[in-house]
């Protein structure tokens, strides 16, 4: 009785190629066809990413080496824009304000979000609080900026403090005094973003194993001890994610600042993102604005990669 040869060995037949070989060839061909159609489906997304993202980045980097004003043809100027940035008196103010925003937006919304999540976790009506705290994020940065500009203006807190008899507080120029203007905008931003961080912490808290917390409470861990030894370590992964996102967002702080002060008065509340916008679109120094944008991007990348690498190292340890 003839038996089929083991796979891969030629048998020979009237149609030329051996049956086993024909089966292998057919499989490879099918896999190639499937790959081709997969690639074709990915092409539109690839075009979008390459076209809108990488193309923009490459063009911005190129612009940063020119004296483009967005109207007439640009000339290559090498590192002139970067040198100009180093000697620009506005550099220090922008670096300082950007760092203030980064630190504040890590400490305040993240810290308050954590406190609110822990405090409300087991409270009745948690969903109501979730909605109330999340609502400011849903209304967007521009609306938030308009609302808080009114509150910090002459018809807002000033009127309230006047009515309550706090004259000295009523005369405070919340958005015109330096550095109070930056702190006031940070308050507005904290009000808006704290709810999102709180929701993320809720998610983290919900994933903590109940058996662990029950065992800990049986051992006498309550309140601060429970938080310190059980809750906080269990939230470390979520905290890392939230902080990483906060770093990236804070370093690019723009929308709220633009609506409330446009970086003023006299550039005192400007950040890197505001600075690049002003140079590009108000002063028509697109090359210079592009150089600032490149420096900001590098700064954000280094900060976020550095933080994530350190966090991952700790996790592995």
């Amino acid at each position: 009785m003839k038996t089929l040869p083991p796979p891969g060995r030629a048998v020979g037949g009237p149609r030329g190629a051996p049956v086993a070989e024909r089966a292998t060839l057919s499989g490879r061909h099918q896999r190639r066809r499937r790959s081709l159609s997969s690639y074709l489906f990915v092409v539109p997304a690839l075009v979008l990413v390459v076209g809108m993202f990488w193309y923009s980045i490459v063009m911005t980097v190129w612009l940063s080496f020119t004296n483009s004003n967005g109207l007439s043809s640009a000339q290559f100027v090498g590192l002139a824009n970067y040198r100009a940035m180093l000697s620009d008196p506005a550099l220090l103010t922008n670096v300082y304000n950007t760092l203030i925003w980064a630190v504040a937006m890590i400490v305040l919304p993240v810290g308050l979000g954590l406190v609110a999540a822990v405090a409300l976790k087991k409270r009745r009506g948690r969903s109501v609080f979730q909605t109330v705290f999340y609502l400011p994020y849903a209304i967007g940065f521009v609306t938030t900026g308009v609302i808080w500009s009114f509150l910090f203006g002459t018809s807002g807190f000033s009127e309230l403090f006047n009515a309550l008899g706090f004259r000295s507080l009523a005369n405070v120029q919340w958005l015109n005094q330096v550095p109070l203007n930056t702190y006031s905008m940070i308050v507005a931003s904290t009000w808006q973003t704290m709810g999102t961080d709180m929701l993320l912490f809720f998610v983290g808290l919900d994933t903590i194993d109940r058996q662990v917390t029950e065992a800990a409470s049986l051992d006498g861990a309550v309140g601060w001890k429970m938080f310190r030894f059980i809750t906080w370590p269990s939230l470390s992964a979520m905290t890392r994610v939230i902080i990483a996102i906060s770093i990236v967002n804070a370093l690019q702080a723009f929308n709220l600042i633009w609506v409330m002060t446009q970086g003023g008065p006299y550039g005192s509340s400007s950040t890197f993102a505001v600075w690049t916008y002003q140079q590009s679109f108000q002063y028509y120094k697109m090359g210079y604005g592009a150089a600032i944008a490149v420096v900001l991007t590098v700064f954000v990348l280094l900060a976020s990669i550095g933080y994530l690498r350190r966090s991952l190292r700790e996790v592995r340890a």
């Binding site: 074709l40 004003n69 109207l71 006299y266 028509y284």
Partner: protein, 426 residues
């Protein structure tokens, strides 16, 4: 290739083709925008859309070519888009812009059509104010038609003036006397704004009223910010601040649109462009009854009466294939009947003397301009290049917030900014 494989590849290819088709369709402008009857009018004034479109229909009825507004909600985005397209065939046929030094880069790039022959006709036939049209003059040629013209006036709260028996001042000392009276009664004589572009408001007014030729020289980079006329103007400004005649500074971007202290009478006077009148009427004030306006009297009577005006043009792209039609539409727009309709729609005052306003404050100001032979000067924001105007106006906020700062080093900073531009521009 098997049937199933062919179907997968065909499906993928169809998706790509559909997306490509969608993308290319998105690039085709809407038919109405480039039809013979209506041309696109790109602008950064979304609140004016209904007015633009109403007048656009009138233009089409009169001469066959009208316009349709294409608004951008952000001025900065609008400028960036127009500047990028300005020297290409993709430039909008018509667009709003700014006068003076803001127009110069477009002219130098060959982006806007020459309207000189039309301007001469408008001046001769319709009484177009040559001071206003000069704002659109570059190297002796004209490149824009005034879409709106606003005089910078001192609005005053009539109730405050009546209560303290004050009258419209015709001299600077009378204005200061009125201010002293108001101050003594706990009213802030002048509403004061800060931040962003507010810095130039009092700076330009005082310098102009003391030395108009120095003002013109300064905006054209011919004299320094540390020169004697500028130092003198800053000293005058400081004196007014030291006397406590200004209200606590308010953020101009967030508070000018709702000038509550002026409406309530806590601030008696407001130095601003006449476009602010719409905010006052929206707040319930009635022109002529609750508020009036006057031209600020000269500080130095020898220089004669001066006033600031601002004007914004509609310009025609020199690269769009509809250039001739666009020029025709603009020419029709400048006809007195259309100007009258436009002014009525928008509460503007035409720059043409044959077109009369019915707004009582505008009528009084127009009368004052004629009676006192007031010479109109382009606003600082347009008269000097934006690379100087924007940072200097921003820095002047420092002086507003601290008028007793060390003046010369401060002025040297302003001069350094100006110098950085003029050195490369010359």
């Amino acid at each position: 290739m098997g049937v199933r494989g062919k179907k997968q590849v065909l499906a993928a290819a169809t998706c790509i083709a559909a997306l490509a088709g969608t993308t290319s369709l998105a690039g085709v402008p809407a038919a109405s925008a480039t039809s013979q009857a209506y041309l696109q009018l790109a602008n950064d004034k979304p609140g004016w859309t209904s007015g633009f479109n109403a007048i656009g229909k009138d233009l089409a009825k009169l001469d066959g070519v009208g316009w349709q507004a294409q608004p951008y909600s952000s001025t900065t985005a609008f400028q960036a888009v127009v500047r990028a397209a300005a020297t290409t065939s993709k430039a909008p046929p018509l667009f709003t812009w700014w006068s003076g030094q803001q127009l110069v880069p477009l002219v130098k790039a060959g982006a806007v059509a020459n309207m000189t022959s039309y301007v001469k006709t408008w001046e001769a036939k319709y009484g177009l104010n040559p001071d206003v049209e000069d704002a659109y003059k570059v190297n002796g040629q004209y490149y824009g038609a005034p879409l709106y013209t606003s005089d910078w006036v001192m609005y005053y709260n009539k109730k405050d003036f009546a209560k303290y028996h004050l009258s419209v001042p015709l001299t600077w000392s009378a204005l200061m006397q009125d201010a002293a009276t108001l101050k003594s009664h706990g009213i802030a004589p002048f509403a004061y704004y800060v931040d962003d572009w507010a810095g130039f408001i009092w700076f330009e007014q005082i310098l102009l009223e003391e030395d108009p030729s120095a003002y013109q020289a300064l905006v054209n980079g011919k004299i320094s910010y540390t020169s004697a006329p500028v130092v003198k103007a800053m000293a005058t400004w400081r004196q007014i601040a030291d006397k406590g005649y200004f209200s606590p500074p308010m953020n101009i971007d967030t508070e000018l649109g709702s000038p509550t202290p002026f409406v309530n009478g806590q601030d008696a006077m407001l130095l601003i462009g006449s476009w602010e009148e719409s905010s006052l009427t929206k707040a319930g004030m009635v022109p002529g009854k609750d508020f009036g306006a006057f031209i600020v009297p000269p500080i130095n009577p020898k220089v004669g009466w001066q006033a600031i005006f601002e004007t914004g043009p509609v310009v025609v792209s020199a690269h769009n294939s509809d250039m001739q039609q666009a020029l025709k539409a603009v020419n029709t727009f400048m006809q007195p009947s259309v100007q009258q309709a436009w002014d009525k729609l928008m509460d503007f005052t035409s720059a043409e003397s044959v077109v009369k306003s019915t707004d009582p404050t505008a009528v009084y100001v127009a009368h004052e301009i004629t009676a006192e032979k007031v010479h109109l000067n382009n606003r600082y924001w347009e008269a000097t290049p934006p690379q100087v105007a924007v940072p200097v106006s921003s820095d002047l906020s420092k002086f507003i917030l601290n008028p007793n700062l060390n003046l010369m080093p401060f002025l040297q900073t302003l001069q350094k900014t100006a110098q950085a531009y003029w050195a490369t521009a010359k």
